[in-house]
Subunit: 424 residues, 3 copies
């Protein structure tokens, strides 16, 4: 995942344009991506698809001939979706178009002006405050013209056409945690799930420009998405070493919220004010059971939306740990609806007779942990296979992982102690 | 409010009698009070309207000719509803009728004997313990005879005949926090609401002697009060600087409890053991959605029911703060049932297109508070205008004030993003 | 209770055999026990009744002629349900059959091998590590042969045939807290309830070998137990001075769980992994409203399942306190379903008119505790006798004991202020 992240890092992405298409093309090398192009000007609900932006070169030339904020050096130097210009102007006029971070004077901010014509440059606060008085030339060689917004999706079919949505955004230029981490983690999850011999659910992976992209995709799927989507997650800023955090769906009471309670991570209340595309998926017209996952919630870490969000901020070990978490979430989803019923629900079965229990009963040594004892999961499965509790509910009651419960259920099934109510 | 409190302070109120009528007359100078007289002996549910009490003079004359506990000095010196007497008796006999506070030896307690004939005097513990041996004369010049119990009510009509009940008690003689504070706060609230160009609800203000008065009023309104009362609050001891506190309705789950959760203040469980007239309004036969408001819960502050409960204990600033709180509660009630629905509920609207969002997106400076950002309220309104959540419910979910939400809703309505489901 | 405990202590109990019958015979001297014998080999749900075990003598003779682990010295020296043997074997071979507690080297563990043929001895770790090299003789004189498993039950009838189940186990040999404490506490409770002039519920006391015994009893009662059992409790390790602890029923939401919330004690979540016969009573096929009571949860105290669990560990005062708790639980059960309705539910009644309230109202001295004031219970009863709340529900709302509420209700009933909805 980290190699892919480094490969995608230099590309200048935006809402629509060649950087996005190149990103999708690279992803398409290993994922069966279906690309959709939505033409500029298309109305998608309350929104209109913007023009494509094709930046080629940009820089400021100072009164002394020095070059500032050269796009070729770092694509954050150019405000995203800046229009083409070639202007002579003095320092004061120029400063109205130059953005920096006074509180973090060494790094370059990420600034966009997607939906209104204009232009701007970004530089460090040090560089900005060193600009000499005099005449400057600001030059932006770019196109802003009709084209299409592109997004990609890959479907991994399972036994059931009911889908788990895994959505992430790929509109940010050279920044790693926000959100190439999401892009490569989604890609990693695709491959991990594809390698499985069996999937109960189907999985749909989306790579969209944030907000407008998920809205365009929802527009294209507006009549079917609600009935087809069993659960979903949005990945944002999942590449660093922060605590695994999940943000509730809008009402916080869906199947996916229950899955996350069992799969683990810090729970965060829903808010429509910040976050990512979960706000679109959870909007009242769709109200999908979608949560958002992050390791540092967007906007809360110091290098957020700056040139300091480099690949070093998303170490391979952190990405690997994220993938483990994502797989555990999918395991929980997969096993959740499985429900068993005791073949004879009266009393506990005599486990020793079924080879499932030691035959000598002696006091446990101190340090023995009954909860980690595999027998614990067996007892919970047998006690709650009552026709009312699926594995997800048993996990909620017991505090055990759904893995441990599924393992015990397999043994109990093999021993004839339980039978499947829903296909296992 | 404080001027009115000082004017009402000297009047000797009780359950029924000229002091109460005088109090209602003064209130009637600025409120359109309708006065109801309920004759002595009238049966109101389990209760019987008592006789009127008209104290004129009272004092104890000591063996040395010194005067003690003179009613003319402070009306707390006389136990409320004491019968007329003129007795000679020695110190020991007298002491059985003299009440003081051994733990607060400098102040005079407030004592009543409403429902059983008898008499008594109150004085400081210092004065009581200095009473010389010898013969005393105790004289009470008062009438206890049939008449009527009076209460006043003022109705402030609104768009909707559904009523908010604002009830407070005016049976206490010269004490300020308990409960002239409630009387003048209710009066202040009347004028504040009357000055509004519009009220969605109607407001009914009650000034009653405590317990028997609310029961008599309920008796008179027994067939209509339940259907007519949307919400209600009882004011008790709201004049000092204690924390704004509200006591739940009997079951704690009514509209008015939800309003208070949003309007703010410390929540206190319901108890039928202490409190004020909420106990009558919440009694099982009526079970009205009524809470009780106080700043120091009755019985919990050191000068409660004593001569130390002077107007200085209820400074104008505290009364003014209480009025702000009461207005916020009414604002919450007024705005609670307003419900909107997104005109197109799919995804978020493109706020910048509607002039509701900045067009340049850049990182927020540290110190920026998104929750106080007006955009927060807008996002909550748009996310929860789903046909299931009125403004009260959105306030509960978001933790934002209903004011902020109503302001955002107005903007969204003007922009055509939402439409009213219930009349706004 | 402690005398009975000391008398039962020396008897060697197991799942089935003469020790159990002797225990039931002793209990039968004061309880009207009905004894049921279930023959060896009987299938009870998933289980099969085991053979009877009759140990007579056992010991190990060392190479130096010294005797080790003599059954006559302490019946824990012999692994329960050991088969008869008379073997010569050298130390290494012997050690595979010798159990000790390395972490508690001075005490003898309790070990069983109920359901698989074999044999073993238990001794202290000190003794085990002192065993000399050489030849040993291990001799067990015992029978393991078909017979019957016995359990006893005693029914104490009440007004209502609906039953409260009080179950405890009597399969443990010489150990006091686990579980002669449960046996004698159940016996004590029987006598306390029998002495009452009236019982609303019927009480069924069970003395069974753990697990297999309750399963056998459930088998015998499989068609009627669900409809007949209103509540139940299992006693385990109730003889020492630990905090009163109750373990929820399987779903934690039954009548019996509500009773325990009101009766008091530390609440513990249900688990099917550890505990006692509540696991059988709560199994999905029965799902009875049964909790488990203990003072130290089985397995959590240092002398659990060892020779150190002596009668000194269950002092008479602790057993007496347990009995007080058990009686309070039964009081709560008895009074729970009683429900009243106000004769006139409008407003509070005028308590002074009914002789239920002081007629002089004065400020309470500091230190006055309204909650302990008997008037508190009266006010709660009057406020919540609304046709929806029985005494159990009023206790849940008020935090008062059901005793205090029942006392107040009696007074209110006598005064005609309430009437019984369900027979009191």
């Amino acid at each position: 995942m980290h190699a892919l992240l480094r490969r995608l890092f230099p590309i200048c992405r935006s809402l629509a344009g060649p950087g996005n298409r190149e990103t999708l093309r690279v992803l398409g090398e290993t994922l069966p991506l279906k690309i959709t192009d939505v033409p500029t000007g298309t109305k998608v609900f309350d929104w209109v698809i913007p023009e494509e932006w094709t930046p080629r070169a940009a820089e400021i030339t100072g009164p002394d001939g020095r070059i500032h904020a050269r796009f070729a050096d770092h694509n954050l130097h150019l405000v995203s979706h800046s229009e083409p210009i070639d202007l002579k102007l003095d320092r004061e006029e120029l400063l109205g178009h130059v953005y920096s971070l006074p509180q973090q004077p060494d790094i370059v901010p990420y600034v966009t002006r997607y939906y209104k014509r204009g232009w701007g440059f970004c530089m460090t606060e040090h560089e900005r405050s060193d600009l000499l008085p005099g005449k400057y030339r600001a030059r932006i060689d770019a196109d802003l013209k009709p084209g299409a917004l592109s997004f990609g999706e890959a479907l991994l079919p399972g036994d059931n056409p009911s889908e788990v949505l895994v959505s992430t955004y790929m509109c940010h230029p050279s920044m790693a945690n926000d959100n190439l981490s999401g892009v490569v983690a989604a890609s990693g999850l695709y491959h991990a799930l594809a390698a499985r011999s069996r999937r109960r659910f189907s999985y749909r992976f989306l790579f969209v420009p944030e907000t407008i992209g998920s809205i365009a995709w929802l527009w294209n799927n507006r009549d079917i998405v609600k009935g087809r989507t069993a659960a979903g997650l949005v990945l944002s800023c999942v590449g660093n070493e922060g605590p695994f955090t999940w943000k509730e769906s809008r009402l916080g009471n869906t199947f996916m919220d229950r899955v996350m309670f069992v799969a683990g991570g810090e729970r965060m209340k829903f808010t429509p004010v910040t976050g990512s595309d979960e706000r679109q998926f959870c909007s009242p017209g769709f109200d999908l059971p979608v949560v958002m996952l992050s390791r540092n919630y967007p906007g809360t870490f110091p290098f957020y939306h700056t040139s300091a969000d480099t690949p070093e901020k998303t170490p391979p070990a952190a990405l690997a740990a994220t993938l483990v978490w994502l797989e555990r979430i999918c395991d929980t989803i997969e096993r959740s609806p499985v429900q068993y019923r005791r073949t004879d629900p009266h009393g506990e079965p005599m486990l020793s007779r079924h080879g499932l229990y030691h035959t000598l009963s002696r006091r446990k040594e101190s340090g023995f942990d009954r909860v980690k004892d595999p027998r614990s999961a067996m007892m919970w499965v047998l006690s709650f296979s009552d026709g009312n509790h699926d594995l997800l509910a048993i996990a909620e009651h017991s505090g055990l992982s759904i893995d441990a419960l599924a393992g015990a259920a397999e043994q109990a099934l093999a021993a004839g102690l339980i039978e499947a109510v829903t296909p296992a």
